[in-house]
C-alpha cells in the first residue's frame, strides 16, 4: 500500500513537472514530456529500472528548452526536481524485487538530504551566476565544469579503491 502511494506521488509530481515544462514548448517536446510519467510509474511499480532512464530522456528536451528560453535558476531547479524524482522512482524500482528491511525509508531520507543540499547550493550558485552572467565567459564555465566532473570521477574512484 505504501509502495503504491509512493509510486503515485512520484508519478503525479513528475506529471506536474512535465506540465510546467511543456507550457509553450513545441508540440513534440511537450508530448514527450507529458508521456514521460508513464514509463516512470511503470518502472517504480514493476522494478524495470531502464524505464526510469527512458522517462528522464523523454523529459530532457523540455528541460534543455527551458534552460534556453527561461530563467537559469528555474531551469536548474527543474533539473534538480527531475533528478530527485527519478532517483526516488529508481529507489522504488530497486526495492520492487527484494524484501525491504527498512531500506527504502532510510535511502529516501538520504536521497532527500542530497537533493536538499544540492538545492541550496544550486539556488545560490545560479542566482549568483545570473547576476554575474555578462562577465563570465561560457568557454571558461565549460572548462571549469568539465574539470569539476573529471575531479568528481577521480575522487569517487579514490574513495572506493
Amino acid at each position: 500500500m505504501k509502495r503504491r502511494l509512493a509510486t503515485a506521488l512520484v508519478a503525479l509530481s513528475w506529471l506536474a513537472l512535465s506540465a510546467a515544462l511543456s507550457l509553450g514548448a513545441p508540440p513534440l517536446v511537450a508530448l514527450a514530456s507529458l508521456l514521460s510519467p508513464i514509463p516512470l510509474a511503470v518502472a517504480a511499480a514493476t522494478g524495470l529500472r531502464p524505464l526510469v532512464a527512458l522517462a528522464f530522456a523523454a523529459q530532457l528536451p523540455a528541460l534543455v528548452l527551458a534552460s534556453l528560453r527561461g530563467s537559469l535558476l528555474l531551469s536548474a531547479l527543474a533539473m534538480l526536481a527531475a533528478l530527485y524524482l527519478a532517483e526516488v522512482a529508481d529507489l522504488l524500482a530497486r526495492s520492487a524485487e527484494l524484501p525491504d528491511l527498512g531500506y527504502v525509508r532510510e535511502a529516501a531520507k538520504r536521497v532527500s538530504a542530497v537533493a536538499a543540499l544540492s538545492l541550496a547550493v544550486t539556488a545560490g550558485a545560479t542566482a549568483a551566476s545570473e547576476q554575474l552572467a555578462p562577465p563570465l565567459d561560457p568557454r571558461v564555465a565549460i572548462a571549469l565544469l568539465l574539470a569539476l566532473a573529471l575531479l568528481a570521477l577521480h575522487w569517487a574512484r579514490g574513495e572506493g579503491g
Partner: protein, 424 residues
C-alpha cells in the same frame, strides 16, 4: 554447520547510472559548445552537485558475513535452512544476496535490501529437488552512495557444499550369487555348512547338535539319528559400477532423470548390501570418473552417497578401461559385480561378458527407451534388447524400466545360480 571464516574480497566500480550521469553532463557541455550558449550549462550544476553530495555520504565500513547451514547432507526433495548474518562496523545501506547454485528458495529470500547496523539476519529455506551438489555462497554485499552512482561489492564467506543425496528405493530381492565369502555371517550362501536357511545336506547326529535339527524321516529310514545341515550364510564383497556415459543420445531432461534413477538404484543397493554386513565398492563413469575400494560401514555408505550425488552424465574415459583394469584391482575373484548400465553400446556388453567367468555378475539395465515413440528410438531399443539377450546368456540381466519396482523386474530375471561347490 557454519561456513569457514575467510576475508572478504572488495571491488569498486562505477554503476550504469553513474555512467549515465557522466554522459549527461558531457552531453550538456557539448550542447553548450555547439550552440555557443552557456545557458544549458545551468543544468549541469544540479547534476554535479547531486553526484558530489552523494559521494560525501558514501559509507566507510567493514563488512563481515557468517553463514549457518542447518545440514550439509539432505535427501533429494528435502529443504535446507540457511541463516546469513551480515555485520558492518557502521550503519550503511546495502543489497545482500546469497548465492544458491541449484534448487529453489521456497521460504524467505536469499537476497534483501537492508540497513546494516550492528547486524542483519537473513533466513531462508532452499528446496533441493534433485540429486546433486548445491553450493550456498559466497554472499555478495553491495554498498553504495545514496544515488548508487558507484558501488562497492564485498564478496564474503566461502561457499558451503550441501549434498542432495539420491532418493532410496526398494532394492530387496535382487539376490547375490557370489561364491567368494568373508568370515562374518551375512546373507550370501557360502560353500560351507552351518547356520542358515538353505538346505545343505544330511549327516549323522553329533553331540551338541540341536534336537530341532533332527531329520526324523532319515532317522527312521537309516535307524540312527540324522540331522539336517544348512548352508552357512556369510558376507561378501560387492562392486557397483554405475555407467552414466553415452547418454548424449537422449534429450537433456530425460538424461538427468535416467542418471537420477541409476544413482538412486546404486544408493539403495549399497545401503542394502552394507546393512547386511558386506563390503561395497563403487566405480562411477560419468563426467567425472571415480572409484571407491570395497569397505564396510557408515563411513563407506556416506562416501558412496556423496559420490553418487556428484554423478553427472558424460564420458571422460571408456568404461571398458574401468571394467578391465579396475575390477581385478578392487574386487576379489568370485565376488559380486553389479553393473548399472543402460547398455547403449556393444563394447560395454562385451567387457561385462568377459568378467562373467571370474565374478558373479549382475547387470541392472534401466531402459532409456521405455515409452518412447519414433522409428529411431525403436531401432535403438531393438539394438539394446539384443545386447540384453546376448548378455543374459552369460550372466543375470535385469531389464528395468525406471519408475517401476525393481524387485518385480529382478524376479523376472530369475534367482542367482548357487555357488559352485555348494551341494544344494
Amino acid at each position: 554447520m557454519s561456513s569457514p571464516r575467510s576475508p572478504c574480497r572488495r571491488a569498486t566500480r562505477l554503476t550504469a547510472k553513474g555512467r549515465l550521469y557522466l554522459a549527461l553532463a558531457l552531453g550538456l557541455l557539448l550542447l553548450a559548445a555547439v550552440l555557443e550558449n552557456f545557458r544549458p550549462l545551468a543544468l549541469t550544476v544540479p547534476l554535479a552537485l547531486m553526484a558530489g553530495f552523494s559521494g560525501l555520504l558514501h559509507p566507510r565500513v567493514e563488512v563481515r558475513v557468517e553463514r549457518e547451514v542447518e545440514r550439509s547432507r539432505v535427501v533429494a526433495g528435502e529443504r535446507v535452512r540457511v541463516k546469513l548474518r551480515v555485520r558492518s562496523s557502521a550503519p550503511a545501506l546495502a543489497e545482500v544476496r546469497d548465492r544458491v547454485s541449484r534448487g529453489s528458495v521456497v521460504r524467505g529470500s536469499s537476497g534483501a535490501l537492508a540497513l546494516l547496523g550492528g547486524g542483519v539476519e537473513l533466513e531462508y529455506e532452499a528446496l533441493l529437488e534433485r540429486r546433486g551438489v548445491c553450493e550456498l555462497g559466497p554472499a555478495r554485499v553491495v554498498l553504495g552512495d545514496p544515488l548508487r552512482l558507484w558501488e562497492e561489492e564485498w564478496v564474503c564467506g566461502e561457499a558451503v557444499e550441501v549434498y542432495a543425496l539420491p532418493k532410496l528405493q526398494a532394492a530387496r530381492g535382487v539376490g547375490l550369487g557370489a561364491s567368494y565369502t568373508g568370515v562374518w555371517p551375512g546373507e550370501v550362501l557360502s560353500r560351507r555348512s552351518g547356520r542358515g536357511y538353505e538346505f545343505y545336506g544330511v549327516r549323522e547326529y553329533a553331540r551338541g547338535d540341536e534336537l530341532r535339527r533332527v531329520n526324523w524321516k532319515a532317522t527312521a529310514r537309516l535307524g540312527r539319528l540324522m540331522v539336517n545341515e544348512r548352508v552357512e550364510e556369510r558376507v561378501t564383497d560387492a562392486l557397483i559400477v554405475v555407467d552414466a556415459g553415452l547418454l548424449g543420445l537422449l534429450p537433456g531432461e530425460e538424461v538427468e532423470g535416467l542418471v537420477d534413477a541409476e544413482a538412486s538404484l546404486a544408493a539403495s543397493l549399497a545401503l542394502h548390501l552394507l546393512r547386511s554386513g558386506n563390503r561395497v565398492g563403487l566405480v562411477l563413469r560419468g563426467r567425472e570418473s571415480l572409484w571407491l575400494r570395497p569397505a564396510f560401514g557408515r563411513r563407506q555408505l556416506e562416501a558412496i552417497l556423496c559420490a553418487l550425488a556428484r554423478l553427472e552424465p558424460g564420458e571422460p574415459a571408456p568404461l571398458d578401461y574401468a571394467l578391465n583394469m579396475l575390477t581385478p584391482y578392487l574386487l576379489k575373484p568370485n565376488a559380486e559385480f553389479i553393473a548399472i548400465t543402460p547398455l547403449l553400446d556393444a563394447y560395454v556388453a562385451e567387457s561385462i561378458a568377459q568378467l562373467a567367468p571370474r565374478y558373479s555378475v549382475l547387470v541392472i539395465s534401466p531402459n532409456p527407451f521405455a515409452g518412447r515413440r519414433g522409428a529411431a528410438y525403436r531401432m535403438l531399443e531393438v539394438e539394446r534388447n539384443s545386447l540384453v539377450v546376448k548378455l543374459g546368456r552369460v550372466c543375470r540381466v535385469v531389464d528395468w524400466s525406471p519408475g517401476s519396482p525393481l524387485p518385480r523386474a529382478a524376479r523376472r530375471a530369475g534367482r542367482p545360480k548357487p555357488p559352485r561347490g555348494a551341494r544344494a
